[in-house]
Symmetry: C2
DNA sequence: TAGATTGTTAATCGATTAACAATC
DNA sequence: TAGATTGTTAATCGATTAACAATC
């Protein structure tokens, strides 16, 4: 049922996790079928948009019936690649790095945390949830040996480009970046940014704008 | 020089922090003027887009010259409301809450962390960076007394809607939401989401897609 | 003044919504 | 079969890019 897969726009891709999340909730509630109209009402999207989005990947519905909730959830999990394992490491074992290490969402997305790295000798050696913090000089070797393909950068912004360079050199293929910079990496390396500072500034804007009116 | 301020699209607003960040870097480097062309080259945007974006807020440039870097940075800080103070509290003092409490980006955006709240009696009473963790039952009183206007939700998803309800009831006007849910709040309450799980799933998709090709 | 670069209008592109024939 | 709802095409809307007159 899968389509020949032309390039999908990022607008569509960024909605997929939301579809997945709501479908998972529906499955838990025991809902077995849903129409695009009803699903749109729940999500705050138009029915049209949902049908267009899903049809980028295949015809998952049935005329006159709607969509099978469990089936659609599994299709989307498959599209997102949530069933594929990705071994990851965290670089920067400070507050944020430790919080991310404790993040329970890894499992559900197929990511497995294998190690953490830091330059601070006071952190090296201790463990967070059975994950060892190692010296950053051991990183390249570990990546190659353990076939790590994702690096999670939780360092301050001064160090982040340097870390990215070392990750790329060691053969990593994707970066989840929490440092407030745009990393410079080769075109085949994927970077997904979580820009806390930008999010906070947008919040400041929205508060400021509302107060102005 | 400010325009009558019609409604600005979110696409524009979400680019402003990036402008601000790069302009700050340019100021630090001692660059005093920049053209939209050169600024676009640095950011990876078209010159046209930068000029369009800035002209939503006013004519900050000068024909034949370009933009004064420091002036433009200050204008954008002003548009974003980074000079206005917003008193905030964190709800949920677990790993993520504590990491956010330690987040150094608050100051630069005009946010001031005033307290943290949790239901866990083992956390209540201790302090993170001089910020006391209090029992959640003290929250409503604290919000009113200290005139808090921003709540930062770092609880697990089960508790987040309940926390949001209590925040709204206590009179809070904006929420920075780290829990993986879409909060239901009255229309005048601003919610800015940081969806770690969605970001991670997009990363999974991009890795999976690249491997497929 | 001549050159450069803005502010702004017009053209293009892409994303969203509407409409409807196909079909379960 | 009749009703419902999809998949898909067409229309609309909004955002981005190009073009250029205004002007420093």
């Amino acid at each position: 049922m899968e389509k020949p897969q032309t390039s999908i726009s990022m607008s569509v891709i960024r909605r997929l996790p939301k579809y997945y999340r709501y479908l998972s909730e529906l499955v838990e509630k025991g809902v077995t079928r849903i129409s695009s109209k009803e699903f749109g009402r729940i999500l705050g999207f138009t029915a049209s948009q949902i049908r267009q989005d899903l049809n980028c990947f295949g015809g998952f519905g049935q005329q006159g019936y709607g969509y099978n909730v469990k089936e659609l959830r599994d299709e989307i999990a498959n599209i997102l690649g949530l069933n594929k394992n990705n071994d990851a490491i965290i670089i920067g074992a400070g507050n944020l790095g430790q919080a991310i290490a404790n993040y329970s969402g890894f499992r559900g997305s197929g990511f497995l945390l294998k190690a953490m790295f830091d330059i601070n000798p006071r952190l090296v050696g201790i463990s967070i949830r059975d994950i060892k913090i190692m010296d950053i000089d051991e990183m390249a070797g570990f990546i190659e040996e353990a076939k790590i393909n994702v690096g999670i950068i939780c360092t301050p912004k001064e160090g982040s480009q340097g870390v990215a360079d070392r990750l790329v050199k060691a053969g990593i293929k994707a970066i989840w970046n929490f440092s407030p910079t745009d990393l410079n990496v080769p075109g085949d390396v994927i970077v997904e940014n979580v820009q806390l500072s930008e999010s906070l500034m947008v919040l400041a804007y929205l508060i400021n704008e509302r107060d102005r009116i």
